[in-house]
Symmetry: C2
Subunit: 239 residues, 2 copies
């Protein structure tokens, strides 16, 4: 573990770490479809959508010659396949857009916004997410997350865990990697960040995947901070 007294900025994974994407999407789509008279197993759609998330980004990561593709576009492509697979009928182009931008309308975990507000008093706070800039900006306004700035994989044209994203964030802030702390509910995100010299903080989100959660119930390494929620991180950071 490193000395964290020099930390100037905390950067946050968002999906799962800051927001409860699964419950938010299922609730949003269920209410919306009831008004629209569309029937579907939205839980299956949402779980299926997230199940192909990593693979959709890996395709971009492994084929840089094809150019960077933002997450909104990857989400839309995956959605169209899933809608066909699940046999969901009657969705217009506008409906598919509404579902895709469901990822812009995610709710924070109960401790997120208050913890961020405390940390913001003393540190720069920013997402460092694979979500695109517009997605993260809209989500912050919807959910009330008080970011100082929005940092996204899109700015670096590299999805996490590519090193360019973590190092790019430090560079944009004119900070050394050890002055930046990555906060995530995912051990692999922290592993990639630590390898590049960033500080690390883990918070468990054991219900992120609902009944399908298979890992990340606990810290798998001696991360600089292991806390039960964002309030615990603020406590440790002296806020």
């Amino acid at each position: 573990m490193s000395d964290i007294s020099g930390v100037k900025a905390l950067v946050f994974d968002v999906f799962g770490t800051c927001v409860d994407w699964r419950t938010s999407l299922i609730d949003d789509f269920t209410k919306w479809s009831q008004k629209r008279g569309i029937k579907a197993d939205w839980t299956a759609l949402v779980d299926g959508w997230r199940a192909v998330y990593a693979a959709s980004m890996d395709e971009v990561r492994k084929n840089p010659q094809n150019g960077y593709v933002i997450l909104d576009v990857l989400h839309r492509r995956s959605l169209e396949k899933l809608v066909a697979q699940l046999g969901i009928q009657g969705l217009s182009d506008a409906d598919l857009h509404h579902l895709t931008t469901g990822w812009h309308r995610l709710h924070s975990w109960p401790d997120t916004n208050a913890g961020l507000a405390r940390l913001k008093n003393k540190y720069i706070i920013s997402p460092l997410s694979n979500g695109n800039v517009a997605l993260l900006t809209n989500m912050a306004k919807f959910a009330g997350m008080p970011w100082d700035l929005i940092m996204s994989a899109e700015l670096f044209e590299h999805y996490k865990p590519d090193p360019e994203t973590y190092l790019g964030a430090a560079k944009l802030l004119c900070l050394k990697p050890e002055q930046v702390m990555m906060v995530a509910a995912h051990n692999n995100d922290l592993k990639a960040a630590r390898k590049l010299g960033l500080q690390t903080a883990f918070v468990a989100r054991p219900t992120e995947y609902g009944p399908h959660q298979k890992y990340d119930f606990e810290a798998k390494d001696n991360w600089e901070i292991v806390a039960k929620d964002f309030g615990g991180i603020a406590d440790r950071m002296g806020c």
Copy 2:
């Protein structure tokens, strides 16, 4: 003039438009130098520094083969020349760093923060400045400007008025140019933005350059909004 009812985001020039760089820097350096026992004509330094601002960026704009250089670095290079020209003695490397980061410690005009807070309730608000990301982030925290995100020429590796900066901002927000309104106290910034399809709002800052102000006392074209301050822009935008 265009119909502004479709605007989703307002992007702001910062130096001069949002903050009073001249008074802020002169006051900051005067107080600091009194404690440090350094004598200099800080007004001459600040006016001289700003006088070479455009030329320092033009050199980057006209020589893309040399790579993009952030404003903090341009400011430092210009400062070193000016310190020699003005014969200011006794400045250490840390002192030069303190002076350079004076541009991170600028105060808002009296109407700025309240106007931004009103606009933020209904629109995305962001700087679109030639200042680098770290500079703008630090300044926002120092001055209390409540941005949703930080957009800087640095993200596009093009200083305004290069088109890449204005169009890059719209693209990052997943908006069309006409859904974005550029706010500036400088007619030439708005002229460049309008040419690319952005909406435009002018606010006069007649004391920006102190006794040396030569232009931008008034709107020089039929910008979509001409207001006396940010409160006037919020009024016109229905906030």
